[in-house]
Amino acid sequence: MREIDRRSRVSRRSFLHASATVLPAAAAAATGLGISAEAAWAQEAKTLKPATMATLVLMARDIFPHDHIGDVFYIKAVMPYDAKAGSDPASRALIEEGVARLDADAMDRHQVAYLAVPWEQQRVEILRGVELTPFFRKIRGDLVVSLYNQKDLWAKFGYEGSSADKGGYIHRGFDDINWLPQS
């Protein structure tokens, strides 16, 4: 059967092109780098603090962890919050206060900020403690679209996206399954 090439299709060029309207150029260099406030994409935030941006990215990865997905997709998913915070003080307060709460909980439990809590399991316990807050619900609910609706990411999950422009699947494997047990 025809399978999908799941290797990353995010070349620097295509990524810059696809994200030109929402993402600073520096983010394109993020692939493979760690999530930190010192990263160029975090430093380019205009309204939210760089540490807040980095915390949102790590939080996004902790909420919807996919080990075969690079940080750049999570960065792209949360980057719009900076512009939103710039035009909407309520959004800015929700996010900065939400991240401050995460850091306070992390300090209580582990004596470091959320970003520095070393293990995913420990961070997930912190998130469990805030999952009913408006902040967490907002971030989780937005991510369902802002993460999974990135077309560059679909092939990594084996999803091919738009089909009519390719003639449908009538000649592209709609019935090519070949491993079912014979009855």
Partner: protein
């Protein structure tokens, strides 16, 4: 194309252009009757449909605010989106899957067959299968339903092949690619299915029947049908004798307009239709138009639904090809030994990655959730369509607080599963998982009901005026020139997708209305 004067009081005004309204409009126009269809949404032609789930949702879905209450999970997950239906010319025939099944005989007689179920408000239809059969035959021909009229079935896609292999392995007999209003060969000026997928996003090839590019242009070609898009009905007016006289609507510019009418037929789907009747309350009809029974908005049904997904060791690519061309019918029978009355169908279903993320387990996060999505390519999926029990307390009311931009109260939808619905869903989840387990699933999971696509029963037919809103022709018991033409007519929902029955009733209603008009009764 016709263009009728707003003061022309000889026209039939139909509110809505979907399976009920679009079909009725064409049928009447073919008989030479002048028709104005008021459609709340825009006219989007099929070449403009988008193979992208969220972008298509924005293009087509009914997104105007509604409110919800009750114990159904949709209230928690999607509090302002109780239904996933379409606001566009063609209505929900734009995004329907095409499954076209007839009711079984006993499903017209639920009160007689199922008995007096506590907590339910069952009632027999005032019509029988035998009375509707000639119209089912006409509808199947009109819509080009596969496995009828010597039309071959659609070829099975990967998702169907998994369902079929598993179902046969556990002993199910009636398993095939469905009775689908999707061309398996060219017919009626439309081509055959290209296995595009994206049936829910509007069929770009036009192989799937939709009033948008069948009934409506055929009606328009007679010169007797005018479709007005972006015309949101606000209120139905009546005279001192109690006859309806026209419909007030808001046009695309936001201005209120009034179209006079000889007859009004309401076909706005089961949430908007009762809302319009309730919002048309007057001194003569203080509880809403045609609501002397108090049943307008009540007995809301949405089918007992849910989905089962199975994850396999190797790829399935369930999203390739026709979304719902696959069915297991063995459980649609009446067999109370299973612990519930009524039955259900299992039908293939797939969602793209974006909607799978949104609907797999709304509100979920963490690795249990993401590990399921990681195996998206290896998933097969099925949807459960079972009969749910009418309850008086499951109902559409006018929200006491929230209003639309015309200042009219929005629809508020209350729903609680009946214990029979819960028992049936549990059974269906187990059988669905067993199907996938039989062919080597490594993981199966039940998925909760999505926002309702089948909205039924809120203006139901009844033999006696005290039990319902409509007589056997969809004419309101209270107002003789006021009809209802959508799924809100349903007295019960049956274990099958409703569109074929809505279309059959609309063809029959056109005969009724034209007969009454020619005899001067309305």
């Amino acid at each position: 194309m016709a263009n009728f004067d707003q003061n022309d009081d000889s026209v039939v005004v139909i509110v809505g252009s979907g399976a009920g309204g679009g079909t009725l409009g064409n049928e009447l126009a073919q008989k030479g009757i002048k028709v104005v269809i008021l459609e709340a949404g825009a006219r989007v032609e099929n070449q403009d449909f988008i193979n992208d789930e969220w972008a298509s949702f924005v293009q087509l879905a009914w997104k105007d605010t509604r409110t919800t209450s009750g114990t159904w999970r949709v209230h928690q997950d999607f509090p302002n989106l109780p239904a996933w239906i379409v606001k566009a010319v063609g209505g929900s025939t734009v995004h329907w899957a095409g499954a076209s099944l007839r009711f079984q005989e006993h499903e017209f007689k639920t009160r007689t067959t199922y008995g007096a179920l506590p907590g339910a408000n069952l009632l027999d239809w005032p019509i029988t299968l035998a009375e509707l059969e000639p119209y089912y035959t006409k509808a199947e021909d009109k819509m080009g339903v596969t496995r009828t009229n010597n039309i071959p079935g659609l070829p099975g896609n990967n998702n169907f092949k998994v369902l079929e292999a598993g179902a046969k392995k556990i002993g199910y007999k009636e398993v095939h690619t469905g009775r689908m209003a999707i061309n398996s060969e060219p017919r009626d000026g439309r081509g055959s299915c290209q296995q595009i997928g994206f049936c829910f996003q509007g069929c770009k090839s036009g192989a799937k029947w939709s009033t948008l590019y069948t009934e409506i242009p055929k009606g328009e070609a007679t010169g007797k049908l005018e479709v007005r898009p972006n015309a949101m009905a606000v209120k139905i007016e009546h005279d001192a004798s109690g006859k309806v006289t026209g419909v007030v609507y808001m046009d695309g510019s936001g201005a209120l307009q009034r179209q006079k009418a000889r007859v009004v037929a309401v076909a706005g789907n089961s949430l908007e239709s009762p809302r319009l009747l309730l919002n048309s309350a007057s001194a003569m009809f203080p509880d809403g138009l045609a609501n002397s029974s108090g049943q307008v908005g009540r007995n809301y049904m949405r089918h007992m639904t849910g989905s089962v997904y199975g994850v396999f060791e190797r790829p399935v690519h369930m999203y390739r090809g026709t979304t719902m061309a696959g069915i297991v019918r063995d459980e649609a029978k009446m067999d109370p030994s299973r612990g519930f009355v009524g039955g259900y169908e299992l039908e293939t279903l797939s969602l793209g990655l974006p909607f799978m993320a949104a609907f797999l387990d709304p509100g979920a996060w963490g690795r249990s959730f993401t590990s399921a999505l990681d195996d998206y390519a290896n998933m097969a999926g099925m949807w459960i369509v079972g009969e749910d029990m009418a309850r008086e307390t499951n109902r559409v009311t006018l929200d006491p607080v929230v209003k639309d931009k015309n200042g009219m109260p929005v629809a508020s939808v209350h729903f609680d599963d009946h214990p029979n619905d819960v028992a049936m869903r549990q059974h269906a989840y187990q059988q669905g998982a067993a199907i996938y387990d039989a062919v080597g699933a490594v993981r199966t999971f039940p998925t909760p009901p999505y926002p309702s696509t089948h909205n039924l029963g809120t203006n139901r037919m009844s033999e006696k005026p005290r039990d319902g809103v409509l007589n056997k022709y969809g004419q309101t018991h209270d107002v003789k020139n006021l009809f209802v033409s959508d799924g809100s007519q349903f007295t019960s929902g049956a274990a099958c997708n409703p569109t074929l029955t809505i279309v059959s009733l609309a063809i029959r209603q056109a005969d009724t209305i034209s007969g009454m008009m020619s005899r001067g009764e309305i």
